[in-house]
């Protein structure tokens, strides 16, 4: 990323200089400016098409990257957030509630990272505790009862690792979500919008349709954690990102996700409006298709979708 940014920055500076020169000296440099602009655009397209996995990791974690609430705000109307797992507390790293999509009630759930340091501390950097997963499950069960579809936005470095999380059964909470989502009697669509880290991501990811945004990642563990476990050296994260196969293209090739949702040039944060529009269109189309199916075949297909994953001889 650093290299690309440097190159792009240099060109942008040149462009700026040309514009300035043209303005102050009254010389017509439009032709030259246009040429540099075109070159810049081409370079950008080329650069973002060929991001390395590590560059994608950085983009997926970008401070300005839109979060679940940003997408919910742009895609749905009248979002009403609900809180709490009815057992222990409300976990702010997972948000959920109901909203309307062209007049239709939808249950929306997502991991929620903070958009600044203060909010990130409140939201635990999007790393849920067990009660977060239990809140998510409660809302899914509610959706099942009222026969409304569930849309999940996945964006977490992973489930939180801490004493309280273990005491309250992090493993059990995730396991129950996997089992219950596999048989939830209503359509589910999951979209990885940033980081899809480990079981903490999968716990919102057992769905009829699974998508990834172009520059998001989905992996068994963070590259840092992976390097720490396999090589006892967390600083080799960049190398880990390379071998782990975590990009949207990788997962599309493995047929683990249904499709890639293209991002605007430069990443989701450059134009969330356009991106939200295309996600909205996709959700509407999918729901039409999924809701046509009878429940039995919907659940059968969902089972087979995950049943068939695995490489062996």
């Amino acid at each position: 990323m650093a290299d690309i940014n440097q190159n792009l920055e240099q060109l942008e500076n040149k462009l700026e200089a040309l514009r300035e020169f043209s303005d102050t000296h009254g010389v017509d440099l439009n032709k030259e400016i246009k040429a540099v602009e075109e070159k810049l655009y081409e370079l950008k397209i080329e650069a973002y098409k060929n991001l390395t996995p590590w560059e994608k990791v950085n983009l997926a974690r970008h401070g300005e990257r839109p979060t679940s609430l940003d997408y919910i705000d742009k895609i749905f109307e009248d979002f009403i957030e609900f809180h709490g797992d009815r057992n222990f507390r409300d976990d702010p790293s997972i948000i959920g509630g109901i909203a309307s999509l062209e007049g239709k009630a939808i249950t929306v759930i997502g991991h929620q990272k903070g958009r600044n340091t203060k909010e990130n501390i409140k939201r635990n950097f999007g790393m849920p505790h067990p009660e977060g997963y239990r809140k998510a499950l409660r809302l899914m069960k509610q959706a099942e009862k009222f026969k409304r579809p569930v849309i999940c936005f996945i964006d977490t470095p992973g489930a939180f690792c801490g004493i309280g999380a273990e005491e309250r059964g992090q493993g059990e909470a995730i396991a129950i979500n996997l089992m219950e989502m596999s048989r939830l009697k209503t359509p589910i669509i999951s979209i990885v919008i940033g980081e899809g880290g480990s079981g903490g991501a999968l716990a919102l990811g057992v769905a009829d349709k699974v998508y990834m945004l172009e520059h998001s990642i989905y992996s068994i563990l963070s590259p840092e954690g992976f390097a720490a476990i396999l090589w006892k050296d967390g600083t080799r994260a960049k190398e880990a990102a390379q071998v782990m196969k975590i990009t949207s293209e990788d997962l599309k090739n493995f047929e683990i996700i249904d499709d890639i949702i293209n991002e605007p040039l430069g990443g989701a944060h450059k134009d969330i409006g356009e991106l939200a529009k295309s996600i909205k269109k996709l959700i509407i189309n999918d729901l039409q298709e999924l809701e046509k199916q009878d429940l039995e075949s919907l659940l059968n297909k969902r089972y087979i979708k995950f049943r068939k994953i695995g490489e062996y001889q």
Binding site: G171, I174, L178, I220, F226, G310, Q313
Partner: protein, 286 residues
């Protein structure tokens, strides 16, 4: 006269031939084991004959899958399923094939779980036993597939399932494929449960990561061996995250019992009897 009492009597002196020196005993390597818990030096054979439990303090040593099957399943009743599934390298992970081959040679088994159908005190059940000596019992595609097939077989035959868990978690070298095995196994268990069938999960040392966060924690009845390490995140990771030392006994079976996540801790020698009773009590009236 009195002086004479203390007089030195004559000694017979002999010289000891050098070759008669008592040789230091040569103990073959691995004959003795130091107990991890009480530090006693225990004769290895004693431990083996005692189901790998320390005769002094009751510490449960780890057990491989074959030993476990011998201990739990009625003799001669175990029919293995899917023993020929072979591991591939879906990510083209460097040296993964070599690693698997080494593990095969070391353990004599092809993957980290053995599945089959057998009887326990005469009661038929599908039984899966993980082996933590094979790449830490980690779950990749083959482990996930074998467990899923075993559970599906149980659903078709209307049999209970018993899984002995022993795993460090999902297998890193198969990346996202390993992660997805969690959803796959959990889905199979959901279908088994929908049929009203019994699933007993037995957690042995260690049960962590992606196995804890999938089938291990989904048992209708969850049993654990004393002292077994059971948790989601590894203790090293937690210590690094929160930057403090973990309390004594953290993530041990007793800790989970206290926090309400397992039904019962049962000593190894009692497990077969308990399973037999549970199977009998859940027998379907036909």
């Amino acid at each position: 006269m009195i002086k004479g009492i203390f007089k030195k009597t004559k000694y017979v002196t002999t010289s000891i031939p050098a070759q008669e020196k008592v040789p230091t005993p040569i103990i073959p390597d691995g004959m003795w084991i130091k107990c991890n818990s009480c530090d006693q030096i225990v004769y290895k054979k004693d431990i083996e004959e005692n189901n790998r439990v320390c005769p002094y303090c009751g510490f449960h040593f780890r057990m491989n899958a074959r030993e476990r099957i011998k201990l739990i399943v009625d003799e001669g009743t175990f029919k293995e399923l899917d023993s020929n599934l072979l591991t591939l390298n879906p990510l083209d992970f460097p040296n993964y094939e070599d690693k698997i081959r080494q593990q095969e040679e070391k353990t004599g088994i092809k993957e980290a779980v053995i599945t089959g159908i057998g009887r326990i005190y005469g009661e038929e059940a599908v039984i899966a036993v993980m082996d933590c000596f094979f790449l830490m019992g980690s779950m990749g595609s083959v482990v996930g597939e074998k467990i899923t097939r075993a559970v599906e077989e149980a659903t078709i035959r209307r049999l209970p399932v018993i899984i002995f868990c022993a795993s460090g978690g999902a297998r890193m070298q198969e990346g996202i494929f390993s992660l997805m095995q969690m959803a796959k196994t959990a889905g199979a268990i959901a279908r088994h449960a929908e049929e009203g069938l019994l699933y007993i999960s037995v957690l042995t040392d260690p049960t962590t990561g992606g196995v804890t966060a999938s089938f291990a924690m989904l048992g209708d009845i969850i049993i654990a061996e004393p002292g077994a390490l059971i948790g989601f995140a590894g203790s090293r990771v937690i210590e690094q995250t929160i930057r403090q030392k973990l309390p004594e006994g953290f993530q041990r079976a007793e800790f989970l019992l206290e926090h309400g996540f397992i039904d019962k801790i049962i000593k190894r020698e009692e497990i077969k009897k308990t399973l037999g009773k549970l199977l009998y009590l859940h027998k379907e009236v036909k």
